[in-house]
């Protein structure tokens, strides 16, 4: 089933304008709801993905103490970097697949939020868009720059920087499936 926008009233308005405006003008999801959803996703990633690497990580971390790490007395083995990169890629796949196939991650489902594309009529996100908007997950240069940029952008503009550049938006999901917005000329249906 896909979302389809149908005209329910007589006013002739370009649906794309309505869609963009209604969605774009709809209230941004609160920071705390988004954070809660994200933390839920992280918990699930920990259970599903990171736990598989527990033994391997323990082996690498055996000789590393926090003090050594902070004072720079330890050289991290290259295998650890590879493992962290692989884990981050798997986490990226988690967010990418969920947002591509469902428009929502598990955390988003629990907190009734959804990610939509403002470029497409049905709001569906492409695979590439989903990957790009979640690339901050990768803990290596240049992606970790987003760890600073994203929260600041979210705080000031109520949307993430990567959401802006991928022209996507996180919105609330209504129970009936009807997209919330100012305009009621059009209705979102399941077809």
């Amino acid at each position: 089933m896909t979302d389809k926008i149908t005209k329910s009233k007589g006013n002739s308005k370009d649906w794309t304008d309505w869609y963009k405006n209604s969605v774009a003008s709809s209230e941004a999801v609160s920071f705390w709801r988004r954070t809660a959803a994200f933390l839920t996703d992280l918990l699930l990633i920990n259970i599903v993905i990171i736990s598989q690497f527990g033994t391997a990580l323990q082996g690498y971390m055996r000789n590393i103490t926090l003090e050594k790490g902070i004072t720079g007395q330890v050289t991290l083995p290259s295998g650890l970097y590879v493992m962290l990169f692989v884990i981050s890629l798997l986490a990226l796949l988690y967010f990418t697949f969920f947002e591509y196939y469902l428009g929502q991650t598990v955390g988003d489902m629990l907190f009734k939020i959804k990610t939509i594309s403002l470029k497409r009529p049905d709001g569906k996100i492409s695979l590439w868009t989903a990957a790009v908007r979640n690339c901050y997950i990768i803990p290596f240069f240049p992606f970790y720059i987003f760890w600073f940029v994203e929260p600041m952008h979210l705080a000031f503009y109520k949307e993430r920087f990567l959401e802006r550049i991928t022209i996507t938006k996180t919105v609330m999901v209504s129970v009936s499936g009807r997209q919330k917005g100012r305009y009621t000329d059009y209705r979102l249906e399941k077809v």
């Binding site: 089933m1 699930l44 599903v48 993905i49 598989q52 690497f53 033994t55 391997a56 990580l57 323990q58 082996g59 690498y60 055996r62 000789n63 103490t65 926090l66 003090e67 083995p77 295998g79 650890l80 493992m83 692989v86 798997l90 796949l93 988690y94 697949f97 969920f98 196939y101 469902l102 598990v106 489902m109 499936g177 399941k190």
Partner: protein
């Protein structure tokens, strides 16, 4: 309604499929990494003795300045009961410390010999006083040519504030039951009898120290006594006078073990794991210490001996 139920079912099924794919994929990739603890087939333990030797545990996270005999003996016990272990390398970097703690560690090391476990002391920068006593308990001592070794002696010096107190008309009211109960208090001078008493104890401890080194190193008591004037020796000097067996480092320790045990050494570090609460609590303590140290270091010139290059 039915459409929504169907949609929900589709969502859940898609969710499950994605999670299962990720789970399986992660498991496969994790198995490729395998157990990165390269010491699965370990046969040689490395135990660090770093900092002042004490029976107490240190401040924790940042406290590399205390080598707790309680913890080290626990590690030695763990090693002793580990059937994989054929040898132990004690990585020593300590100026010494408490005689009791030193003896505890020394006895624990000697107990390893009963299980035919080869022990090697690898002295890094400093292996002095109690740390040397511990090193002497091992089968083989290796140090760098510039390591500070020896200092076979005992001291109980302390600051006495009688003169200062007198200057400011502060008096010490002595109330004791037992003539020597307050011997060593910094608020009054030592009497000659008390000084002799303490000196006697120090001499006794010194005798224990010399005896232990002589026994451990298979040297004549008098020969060790001649070296036991508290003098520090550089690694090369210590090797020349018999306090150290070999100059070198970890590689030499491994070579010795391989020759002695006829094995290919695979090492594994044995350390005491701190709990998260211990680490956090001690970090706070340690930070407070460093703040104070930072403030005071600007006021006090460190006049203690420090050999630097």
């Amino acid at each position: 309604m039915k459409d929504e139920q169907g949609e929900n079912r589709r969502k859940i099924w898609t969710m499950v499929k994605i999670l299962m794919i990720l789970f399986i994929f992660s498991a496969i990739i994790a198995s490729i990494f395998g157990d990165t603890d390269t010491a699965i087939n370990y046969n040689t333990a490395i135990i660090s003795i770093s900092g002042t030797i004490s029976t107490e545990s240190g401040g924790g996270l940042f406290d590399q300045s205390v080598a707790s005999s309680t913890e080290i003996v626990q590690l030695i016990d763990k090693v002793s009961n580990d059937k994989n272990i054929k040898a132990v390398i004690f990585e020593i970097n300590s100026p010494g410390g408490s005689p009791v703690a030193t003896d505890e560690i020394s006895q624990a090391i000697k107990s390893l010999k009963e299980k035919n476990i080869t022990t090697v002391a690898w002295i890094r920068e400093t292996g002095a006083s109690g740390a040397y006593w511990i090193a002497s308990s091992t089968d083989h001592i290796i140090s760098n040519r510039m390591s500070v070794v020896g200092s076979i002696g005992v001291y109980g010096s302390y600051l006495e504030f009688y003169g200062l107190m007198n200057k400011y008309n502060v008096t010490y009211q002595r109330l004791v039951a037992g003539e020597y109960k307050d011997t060593g208090t910094p608020y009054r001078p030592l009497s000659s009898a008390e000084e002799a008493l303490i000196q006697d104890k120090l001499d006794t401890l010194h005798g224990y120290f010399i005896g232990a080194v002589a026994e451990n190193r298979n040297m004549d008591y008098d020969a060790v006594k001649g070296l036991a004037n508290g003098e520090i020796y550089l690694g090369k000097e210590a090797r020349d006078n018999g306090l150290v067996d070999e100059l070198g480092g970890k590689a030499e320790a491994i070579t010795y073990i391989e020759a002695k045990q006829g094995i290919t050494v695979i090492t594994k570090e044995f350390t005491r794991k701190k709990t998260l609460v211990e680490s956090l609590a001690s970090a706070m303590n340690r930070n407070s210490y460093y703040i104070g140290q930072g403030i005071s270091s600007g006021m006090i010139h460190d006049t203690g001996l420090e050999i630097t290059t």
